[in-house]
Amino acid sequence: MKQLKLWRLLALLLAAALVLASCGNDDDDDSSDSGTPVAQATAASEEPEVPAATAVSAAPVVTDEPSAPEELQEISLQLQWVPQSQFAGYFAARDLGYYNDVGLDVEIIDGSVDIVPATVLASGGADFAISWVPRGLVPREEGLNITNIAQVYQRSGTLQVSFVDAGINDVTDLEGRLVGNWGFGNELELFAGLNSVGLDPQSDVTLVQQDFNMTALINGDIDAAQAMIYNEYAQVLETINPETGELFQPEDFAVIDWNEVGTAMLQDAIWADAGRLADDAMYRDIAVRFVEASLRGWIFCRDNFQACVDIVVGASPPFGGPSHQAWMLNEVNALVWPSPGGVGVMDQGLYDQTIDVATSQGILTEEPDAGAFRTDIAEEAVANLVAAGYDVYGNDFLRGVVQLQEGGN
């Protein structure tokens, strides 16, 4: 009796493992095979489930691959966050075949809460990574051998947003207020901004740790909230104002823009493994092609706004809906364009400003060495794009007007 029961337990386990593994291939065949595995399992009885069973799931994955021509080089790109218009250029380059055109097959890897792109890149988890400049430079100072090869965003998208009746019109008005910030290095522009008008972030304002949304501002828990112009600022504008019953309007808010204050830090850039760039001519060549195709994606998104929004929305359901993504692309475009030195080429002045803020706030102990960024790869990519007839400067770029819907839908 006992024996029989134990066998039953083993059989159940094996059956479960097999059924699970067959779910693993993401196809819809998991309902059909729930009967057979039990028999198999009890018969085979040992050395069970995992290796044999998961091999089943591997098969379809492998057969998916050969659809791409063989000579395509497979590389991967680690994003700093989940798919959204912030990374529109890369999705466009992938979906429109720009990467394929230069012989690359790029896998775009989502970021998440605990993913640090610089670490993933340095540990070989990805061939390239998108990271804000300070978030790349800090781990670099700690010893990661990575380098910024293309500075895609020429401006910072970080704002400090408050309700207009709070009367916070410039940085000095923050004195004595409850000031929200996300921490994790997002607070540096704010701190440097406060310093620039003689305020001490630790004593002259009350700092409040803020979630990555705008609930605290709307709740009245904080007077001024940190917001990305392309994300959280849009969120408040997608929220119903309880007083009017309509969406909040830009006139309801006062905005401090760190680009104007002069403490902005550079954000999204393409980073590469510096060691491989030095040793491996093939990798450098791939880097040039990757940057070129990526920038071509960004040019497409500048010139084909709606088509690009559709690509992002279709890439994998982003966190915000279609109108949110449209808003984001519009704002992100304004962070990229115009690019006076050519898209992706580092602006030395803005770089120096970023370093100034980082060192004065103590996240970098000293100025990074010259290897922290290089412009040769972006310049080569830009030259190729110019030769192919693309406008790499976007000097006549104008921000559009995007109508947000409730909830960003």
């Binding site: 489930e49 998440s112 605990d114 949304n213």
Partner: protein
């Protein structure tokens, strides 16, 4: 009728006993269901009552806001009405073509796969550890502290490490490594521990007289294990499985959130937390979904326990 055949009487009384037992079981189930529903209703009433009362006070205070909020955070942003939370299940979020409960169901399946693979692998590893430690008592003293120490490392610290490893270093396996498998490893990390610890205790739980009996039969190690020690450990093991099953879900959800997997309840919760300002009810709804999934796997373990061990008590002692 004193002349009734004792055999027939016996049979009848057995039948009676079974039908009574069946009736008892039914009654027990009804009672349990009623208790459960009443408890849920109570919770809902508490939530709604707190909200209504708090808002009533806030409304009354509009003109003389001296006391401040007596019951804080009762507006719709902080406490969406239950009707909205549950109504959300039937609604179709913008940009999607399915109702929300179907979306949640699909995400739950994704998470369940990670959790279940993690559970099974964790069970195998946990049992292996238990067997080894039970066999060599010295090892138990030496290794058990490390097994325990493994659980003091916060999950969010190891999650990104496992994901990065997975992408680069697990290509020794004959199948292509996918992100969800890394999440399954994270679930494994939470699962193996209760199985190892309880399994160890269970394997040592066989009564001495039974061990002596096995010894007198000259049963070898395998026979003793199979016929005595494993059956004796089943109650301990199932206690562990219940913990392990729910923590495998927790592990999968935390893993999804920190590791950036492209689906699952964890990703869904992260997304709804991010969009909280414009849709607080969806975050509540998705968290409810996670709770339901946890309860579901717990019930599955209980079901399997019934099947294998029988009702509690029976089979606990050999």
């Amino acid at each position: 009728m004193p002349s009734e055949d004792p055999l027939v009487r016996d049979q009848r009384s057995t039948q009676q006993a079974t039908s009574e037992a069946r009736r008892d079981a039914l009654a027990r189930m009804v009672r349990k269901t009623v208790t459960f529903v009443v408890f849920l209703a109570l919770l809902a009433g508490l939530y709604t009552g707190y909200k209504a009362f708090g808002q009533a006070i806030d409304d009354a205070q509009q003109d003389w806001a001296v006391v401040g909020s007596v019951l804080p955070r009762t507006d719709n942003l902080n406490m969406p009405p239950l009707s909205e939370i549950f109504g959300q299940f039937g609604e179709t979020p913008g940009g999607q073509d399915q109702i929300y409960i179907k979306i949640l169901f699909d995400e739950a399946l994704f998470t369940l796969r990670e959790a279940a693979v993690g559970f099974v692998v964790g069970l195998i590893i946990g049992m292996a550890i238990a067997l080894v430690l039970a066999q060599w008592r010295r090892l138990e003293q030496g290794l058990l502290p490390y097994v325990i120490a493994s659980q003091t490392i916060p999950l969010i610290a190891i999650a990104p490490i496992i994901v990065i490893w997975g992408r680069k270093n697990f290509d020794v396996f004959p199948w292509e490594w996918q992100n969800w498998m890394s999440v399954a490893i994270i679930a494994t990390y939470l699962t193996f521990f209760p199985v190892a610890v309880n399994g160890l205790r269970g394997l040592q739980a066989a009564r001495p007289e039974n061990k002596e009996l096995m010894a007198s039969y000259a049963a070898n190690w395998g026979q003793t294990l199979w016929r005595l020690r494993l059956p004796a450990s089943l109650p301990y093991l199932f206690a562990a499985f219940k913990i392990a099953a729910t923590s495998s879900i927790v592990g999968a959800i935390v893993g999804e959130i920190s590791a950036g997997v492209e689906g699952g309840l964890g990703r869904r919760i992260l997304r709804e937390a991010f969009n909280y300002t414009t849709g607080p009810d969806r975050l509540f709804a998705s968290v409810l979904g996670a709770a339901v999934l946890g309860i579901f796997v717990f019930l599955v373990v209980i079901g399997v326990e019934r099947l294998v061990v029988g009702r509690q008590g029976k089979g606990a002692v050999v």
